[in-house]
Symmetry: C2
Subunit: 99 residues, 2 copies
């Protein structure tokens, strides 16, 4: 990990990026952020992972931290460059939780 990546990590400490791991991994990540003192945690996902991001939000709020409120849900479109050089658009979601 180079310096730039390290800075990026620190800056986005309270952001959880949703990938292909089991949903509960990300739930645990969000809960851990709040328990370590963060007042705001942002869940980000693109493409098919968007459904999992909503699952994470719902499980955190309904099962683990009922005092956590939804601050905002935003959607956007991002442009990706594929391996063959072509470009395609992918939807993204950004869910910010607060307590």
């Amino acid at each position: 990990m180079d310096m730039e990546q390290q800075n990026e990590e620190r800056k986005n400490e309270n952001t959880v990026y949703i990938g292909k791991k089991p949903t509960m991994n990300y739930v645990l990540a969000v809960v851990t952020q709040f328990n370590s003192g963060q007042h705001e945690v942002t869940i980000k996902a693109r493409g098919n992972a968007i459904s999992r991001a909503v699952d994470v939000k719902e499980i955190v709020q309904n099962r683990f931290m009922p005092d956590v409120k939804e601050k905002s849900i935003r959607t956007s479109s991002e442009e990706l460059t594929n391996e063959d050089g072509t470009r395609s658009k992918v939807s993204a979601i950004q869910i910010t939780l607060t307590r």
Copy 2:
């Protein structure tokens, strides 16, 4: 289709339920609702279809109807009864667009 279902259809005329068809089918459905005079259209999806619901919103706004604004995005959890009688929770999203 029985009477109750017909009433349900009429009541939800401005709702587009996202299923497993190609994304553009649902984009067309939303655009058609607006063009037939609706001022508000709600996109609903559950589970894996949530990602497609966000795609539909983004494509409608960015490619077809730039004057359409997001009114609200809400998420929820619904409980389903499986074929074997067990129950499972599924996340849902409800995106309301307006113009």
